[in-house]
Symmetry: C2
DNA sequence: TATTTTTTTGTACCATTTCGCAATAAATTC
DNA sequence: GAATTTATTGCGAAATGGTACAAAAAAATA
């Protein structure tokens, strides 16, 4: 529904080039299976998601799951990595587009809201904020990923604001770092509030208010 | 350490007045038991906290737990309510104190950081943001409490900013609602980042930057 | 003082779920 | 057919949420 962009790839760019694996062929596609696992973890969190749930959702039985992705924790980490990659792809373009700063921020938050509000049974918020951060206290590896996620977002926003200053859209006195942290904070607050089913309209109002403060009311 | 205010109540105002309960006396104090349960839920979340863990932490065996607080979900809700009450007490005074707006915000965030960074085995963040919001998708009652929590915080901040405008500390053009949402967003971002063990110094830097943007750089 | 009532505790249990794995069967290439 | 890779079944030990039931401790009553 969304990927109608780009010219229709007549020939798939990176055709899987089936390398003639030996042995019984897999009955699942690891990528889609991981996607299903991610959906579950996003919805229920780590502890409340059982291997049986994951097995049912992916269509793989437990031993296959285990063989393909390792134990539950590894599967969780791989799901989280996948989430981050997806998010990077979704937001990357918007972050790079050379739009006026206000427009750019609006687009970024719109994409974020799309991610946070998606979900069959209610909005799921942000994996980093909701689920991964919970595990972060106990698991150093996850904690490192989460921290890195925060830094990555801060940096991306900071680059936006620096660019805006260069283009004269922001006064020289503006502090790109501080603005970036505010922009991240706004991402975080809408992620959490989305999870509590705050309506999109209200979330957008918060976003608009924040943008006003960050780049000025002038449109 | 904090409640040295009010004259020392020579006679305890509401002395428990042991009302001669019949039957075998309780071997626990419900209040402290609930506190222990809250600690566990804050640390591990709902699903990862077992009744055995709760039983061990509170010193009550499972049937007693059940009799005193109901099933696990009820205990969770009561723990969350308790958390909110505690937080209200801790922050309420600071919110009400008639300090200059900057000082007031600094104090508020300092108290918040104290709450978020506490915990024997690592900082636990904010119950509302971390744990309760996770359950909010599935549980309408918890969701209502969480949403109410957001609103309550927004309102408290908004009152601060309105007061500051009245006192001429902020320009008439300042939008108290928008500023309040930014202030809440800052609370949320430090709550999450604390959970990922971001050092207090960095969190304070974020807070200071946010305050600068909200009330101006002038000290 | 002895007995009854009331309330809580402690032990034990149950049905279910959970994670992980071993053993075996199936499908494919060499 | 042999080798290799995956799928399926099903086991098992532990943990989970919840509860039944008797023993214990106190007040109320006789």
């Amino acid at each position: 529904m969304v990927q109608k962009n780009k010219k229709p790839p007549v020939t798939k760019i990176d055709a899987p080039v089936p390398p003639k694996r030996r042995g019984r062929p897999r009955a699942y596609e690891p990528d889609v299976a991981l996607g299903k696992a991610l959906d579950l973890f996003r919805k229920d969190g780590f502890a409340a998601t059982s291997l049986d749930d994951l097995s049912a959702a992916t269509g793989m039985n437990r031993p296959s799951l285990y063989g393909a992705f390792g134990d539950k924790r590894e599967l969780f980490i791989k799901s989280y990595r996948r989430y981050r990659e997806d998010a990077r792809v979704a937001m990357g373009n918007v972050f790079r587009d050379e739009l006026p700063i206000r427009k750019r921020l609006e687009r970024i938050y719109a994409v974020a809201l799309d991610i946070y509000l998606s979900g069959e049974s209610g909005p799921r918020g942000c994996f980093t904020v909701m689920t991964a951060a919970s595990e972060a206290v106990h698991d150093p590896d996850i904690r490192a990923m989460v921290l890195e996620g925060f830094v990555e977002l801060d940096k991306a926003f900071a680059a936006c604001f620096r660019r805006a200053k260069e283009k004269g859209e922001l006064p020289e006195s503006a502090d790109a770092i501080v603005l970036a942290q505010l922009a991240s904070a706004t991402i975080h607050t809408i992620a959490i509030r989305a999870r509590a089913r705050m309506p999109r309209k209200e979330l957008e109002a918060i976003v608009n208010g924040a943008i006003d403060v960050m780049v000025g009311t002038a449109r």
